[in-house]
């Protein structure tokens, strides 16, 4: 288990395992295609993952995946075999992912931002994304004003809705749990959300407009705000979360 394998090394027969990432099938056997460690993944854990692989392989033009691969969804008890690199290839945002972004620039049509995290995983390098004015919220789309929703520097939780053009991903915050999760006021204090579209500075008590994320639904990795008044409670919650995960 976890042995180092090299490209072209025979791993097993394709009747024993299902070929997955970092492997390929050649003449009834599974071979490694990269340098890395060979792992087996139990199939019942990621049944969803299996569906993804089959759909991508059928839509792709590659002919290397044998036809029984598609049948494997129904009554196959084989586990997956993967070879993972020691240099992680890095995760990439995909449609439907909830990502954490930082707003870089705003203009009346869109807010351009840098994608920092996908789900709970931090990216090695950032990707560009834009939140267009029509994707900020679900209702009263025509009355949205970008500068009342985001400011440069805000940390925003958003969903990837399209891979976009060659420059940037298209993101959306048109859900209650999506929106600004962390923002600083003009004086540099962390603002506290007071309503769905306003945040207040604890120092100057001025209110600024934001598209605020409703936090308690989203739950994970967005505990960055509320740290002035409810700090202790949040910490307790954090501890609970952690123990749950363990």
């Amino acid at each position: 288990m976890n042995t180092i394998v090299t490209p072209g090394q025979k791993l097993c027969k394709d009747t024993e395992y299902i070929s997955s990432e970092g492997t390929y099938v050649h003449k009834g056997s599974i071979y490694s295609s990269v340098l890395g460690f060979s792992h087996t993944i139990k199939r019942n854990i990621n049944t969803d993952n299996n569906n993804e692989t089959t759909t991508t392989s059928s839509s792709g033009s590659s002919s290397s995946i044998p036809s029984e691969y598609n049948n494997s969804t129904s009554e196959d008890k084989r586990d997956y075999i993967v070879v993972l690199k020691e240099k992680e290839p890095g995760i990439v945002p995909e449609i439907g992912n909830v990502v954490t972004v930082q707003v870089l620039r705003i203009n009346p049509r869109l807010a351009s931002c840098a994608i920092l995290c996908v789900g709970t995983k931090a990216l090695k390098e950032t990707f560009n994304g834009v939140i267009r004015v029509q994707d900020v919220r679900a209702t009263e789309i025509d009355k949205v004003e970008i500068y009342k929703s985001f400011r440069p520097g805000d940390i925003v939780s958003a969903e990837v809705i399209s891979l976009g053009d060659s420059r940037s991903y298209y993101l959306s915050t048109a859900k209650n749990e999506l929106g600004v999760v962390f923002a600083q006021s003009v004086v540099g204090a962390t603002m506290i959300p007071v309503s769905w579209n306003q945040m207040q500075c604890p120092k100057t008590k001025t209110k600024e407009y934001r598209k605020v994320a409703k936090m308690d639904i989203a739950g994970t990795d967005q505990d960055d705000d509320n740290d002035t008044e409810n700090g202790h409670e949040n910490e307790k919650e954090d501890n609970n979360n952690e123990s749950d995960q363990e």
Partner: protein, 244 residues
């Protein structure tokens, strides 16, 4: 001595090897920080660095819709040979070598996994003492593995020739200039396929078999050394991970 003798009566070649020995291999992976994959490869006095970038978005218009395209640039440093030459822009031998590498890796890399993208291979010869093509192919294999680009197998290449009645493995510069056969063989050592085979001049038919066997044996030897190096490199990385 009127005529240069390539094999001494004791059966030793000019550089002291026997006919079925390759030169000393010395190689490292991951030598360049900026590149996605890189390698340094020494085969005797031939020294080569390879940098690989990609797969990344295609910079040219010629992106292929169903697979990655491979671009290869082969360059000789002007100080790599014994006489300094002014580099010509259209060096035919460099073009030939880069095409050879490109074709070898187009058939080895699982390019269908990266549609519309491009993989760049840059080969730089630092010192040239024959066997450039084979050394370059082996060096690119290492760099590809370092870059983590999925491949069917290693590509191992070795040259062989037939001089003065015996087959010789892994030619150096002097032996290359002898005008012998200079067979270049590149194979998939584990899957067992031939990727390319070319020969510079003719060899008697009954001798061809022995030359081919010699090249094949050379490829196998090189494969074991590459394999050892790759595993060692991987173990080093792993121990670094545990420390860091």
């Amino acid at each position: 001595m009127s005529k240069l003798s390539y094999i001494s009566p004791e059966g030793l070649r000019i550089d002291g090897r026997r006919s079925n020995e390759i030169r000393r291999l010395n190689m490292r992976m991951g030598v360049l920080n900026r590149a996605d994959g890189s390698s340094y490869y020494e085969q005797g006095n031939t020294k080569i660095t390879v940098a690989i970038y990609g797969p990344h978005e295609s910079t040219t218009q010629k992106s292929l819709f169903d697979r990655a395209s491979i671009k290869c640039e082969f360059a000789m440093s002007s100080f790599s040979t014994s006489e300094r030459k002014v580099k010509s822009r259209f060096d035919k031998t460099a073009y030939e070598t880069s095409t050879l590498i490109k074709q070898a890796f187009e058939s080895t890399v699982l390019t269908h996994l990266f549609p519309r993208s491009q993989i760049d291979i840059y080969v730089q010869v630092l010192q040239s003492d024959g066997g450039l093509k084979s050394a370059a192919i082996n060096a690119v294999t290492l760099a590809m593995i370092d870059a983590g680009i999925p491949m069917r197998d290693y590509v191992c290449a070795c040259s062989a020739t037939f001089i003065e009645g015996s087959a010789l493995m892994d030619l150096n510069h002097m032996e290359e200039r002898s005008g012998g056969a200079d067979l270049l063989l590149s194979i998939h050592p584990q899957l067992g396929g031939v990727i390319s085979i070319n020969m510079e001049s003719k060899v008697p038919q009954e001798m061809f078999e022995s030359v081919l066997d010699m090249a094949l044996a050379g490829c196998k030897k090189i494969y074991y050394l590459l394999q050892e190096q790759v595993k060692k490199h991987s173990k080093d990385l792993m121990s670094n991970q545990l420390v860091g």
